[in-house]
Symmetry: C2
Subunit: 174 residues, 2 copies
DNA sequence: CCACATTACTTGATGCTTCAACTCTTCGCA
DNA sequence: TGCGAAGAGTTGAAGCATCAAGTAATGTGG
């Protein structure tokens, strides 16, 4: 913790660019998903996390932690996904106060259709412009910041993101 | 452009962390501004950009480019800022179709009160956990990504962000 | 000099996010 | 065993962003 709150020139430069990326990158990724799949980044991520889970089910709070969201936000989103037929909710047999979300077959199909295009956009916007050192830098810097944002590690710094093929799931484009 | 849309393990790791940062960092910065000043990051940025401009006035479209937003979004936000008494809008004398936004004295005062706390939070969440190399890495990586996001450079990759003191404006905390 | 496209901006509707309030269940504990 | 606290989840309202459509002013080709 410094005494001086202001940023020096290098920090200033880094911060301005970071702020611009934080504005433009999510907008670009959302635009692709909206256009090609009618999904937001968040609802896609929700489906994707379920698709990675054995049994394709997760309690709402576990899912919320996985996608770094509040339970309230997730509840609203899952309600919409349920209306689309991509997710169902059932009371857990194990505890009366937990609700488990389950990805339906239609939901899994939706993820499978959407994933390649999304992965391609992530590659286009991020990894196509970075060499190996750049990727390493990005991993380091974001790890450091995440440590500060989420000191407990309770929220998933590491959400599986449905951008690598499962065994036997390699798509035709791959 | 690769043939393979999927990400390898290193890219995967970098992307997951980046996605988490893009979720959590704006939320954290918004929380600080909301709590301490009743502003969103975006409305703060709008005020801050005006405060940096000679004459504290900018046409709406120039301001929109500066803060990386659509004109529509800016118009709604400026309407709210106008209601708070921090900004006024007047037709430009130079062209009948441009509206210039002007930061009022109250608006400038608001920025001055809000800036140090916001800068401190940016420092706490980002720069306190990065050494010089980390700052350099962040600047490089974000520059590369911005180049792809905004190839024209038309949107400001470089918004002045009211995080460095103006001459003679160094606060008591500095 | 007049139609037409373009630029600059606003507005209203729609949808997503957040916040606070609420229910229901389970746990702790006396 | 029974009561209060904490956990899990939902809901409704309010705020903010986005989108499509609209107005008004200004260039531009014929």
């Amino acid at each position: 913790m410094h005494e001086e709150p202001w940023l020096d020139d290098d920090e200033q430069r880094a911060w301005r660019r970071t702020a611009a990326v934080m504005t433009l990158l999510p907008a670009a990724l959302d635009a692709q998903l909206q256009r090609d799949a009618g999904l937001t980044q968040f609802s896609y991520l929700t489906l994707a996390m379920l698709s990675e889970t054995p049994g394709r089910t997760l309690p709402m709070s576990a899912l919320a932690a996985t996608v770094n969201s509040s339970l309230s936000r997730l509840s609203h989103v899952v309600a919409r996904l349920e209306q689309q037929g991509w997710v169902t909710r059932e009371p857990s047999p194990e505890s009366g106060r937990v609700t488990v979300a389950r990805l339906t077959d239609a939901g899994l199909e939706k993820v499978r259709q959407t994933a390649p295009g999304h992965a391609a956009e992530v590659r286009r916007l991020i990894f196509d412009v970075l060499d190996d050192t750049g990727v390493e830098s990005l991993a380091c810097v974001t790890a450091a910041i995440l440590g500060r944002l989420d000191p407990s590690g309770g929220l998933r710094a590491n959400p599986l993101n449905r951008l690598s093929p499962e065994a036997g799931d390699r798509p035709a484009t791959g």
